[in-house]
Symmetry: C2
Subunit: 197 residues, 2 copies
DNA sequence: GTCTATATAATGATAGAC
DNA sequence: GTCTATCATTATATAGAC
């Protein structure tokens, strides 16, 4: 228990972990450009120099703290039957819980020329592509894109612009129509058009 | 014709105009944070100091160059019958023409704490509210929000992330389904649900 | 009307002490 | 492992010459 080697290692890992959590928090709140390494270090209660030591650079920290979480795994791991319900519920009916939302970070960081391409690539390989595979059927990719873009717009409005529904009735109306749209896209329903025999 | 007073005035206006056009171009390409007054001045062929002289500050320039154009006037001035067609055509079928798109500027600038609130406010009063009024009928505001957010997501994907459709078939599939969605939202159609008698 | 030169402030990164 | 002190860069804004 008093092995100095082990203790040094444990402390270092804990420190790096605190930096990671604080990076997620600050990147979420301010985006890549707006976040400063000073604020992240202050939040973690460590010195700025440790960020460079443990993660190389601000960009390296961003890659470890944000990119791996930009996925829909959480939604695609459960049965697809009620996927529309879970998506509509999460992004319309549920109040955004404070903390770390990697998609919010994406929307707030996408214009930076260094992280923009990384975010685009991670979004494609970890979210859109898996969603299209999970959907299957005709035009799977097109349907995945429409789902992803509709959700992105809602996240933008509700979580970035902070313009939630102005009444319960409005929220219900949005929820109801969104659910119908997502259902049609997920089940490959050609609403109001010719059906396959 | 050689009135020095008039000539000074004309030149000043032309210079301010060139600054405005270049500001739109650079804000479009890099967003508010990424754009520098140096680059804007260089593009316009004038000295940086003139930006402060004519527009007070970078923020003042942004207000004049971007905020007034954040509207859907262009779409709402024509008959609403084919609004869905015109929107789907513009944002899915037509290649984004280079130049100034105020909605692209919004997506690239929204995380800045100084311009974010201005953009949010302009978007609401000049785009979402007028759209809701033009739609009319039940849940007009909810329908306007779904239209606006779906389009925002598509602009994000096609024009910011630069991920257009990967084939003509994919583009057609997106176009067809988007058109059906917009049509239902614009005409207040409750697809797959009980109809009013 | 326009430009030169500079003031001021913030950032990410690093060398080296403890 | 962690911190102090500092460097180099880059940004907006301004005072004053032409």
């Amino acid at each position: 228990m008093s092995d100095p080697e082990a203790e040094r290692k444990r402390d270092a890992e804990a420190t790096a972990g605190r930096i990671l959590v604080c990076a997620q928090k600050v990147f979420h709140e301010k985006g890549y450009d707006g976040a400063t390494t000073r604020e992240i270090a202050e939040c973690a209660g460590v010195n700025i120099a440790l960020i460079a030591r443990y993660f190389g650079s601000k960009l390296g920290l961003f890659e470890k703290a944000v990119l791996p979480y930009l996925s829909l795994e959480r939604f695609l791991n459960e049965p697809i039957d009620d996927l529309a319900d879970r998506l509509a519920d999460t992004y319309v009916n549920t109040a955004p819980k404070p903390g770390f939302d990697p998609f919010v970070v994406l929307l707030r960081s996408i214009s930076n020329p260094e992280v923009g391409p990384l975010l685009t690539n991670a979004l494609e390989t970890q979210a859109v592509d898996p969603l299209a595979r999970a959907l299957g059927g005709g035009d799977a990719r097109a349907r995945a894109i429409l789902i992803a873009t509709q959700l992105a717009g809602l996240i933008l409005r509700f979580r970035i612009l902070q313009r939630g529904p102005e009444s319960d009735a409005e929220r219900d109306a949005i929820h109801q129509r969104l659910l119908r749209y997502l259902d049609a896209l997920i089940s490959d329903d050609h609403v109001q058009s010719a059906r396959s025999p």
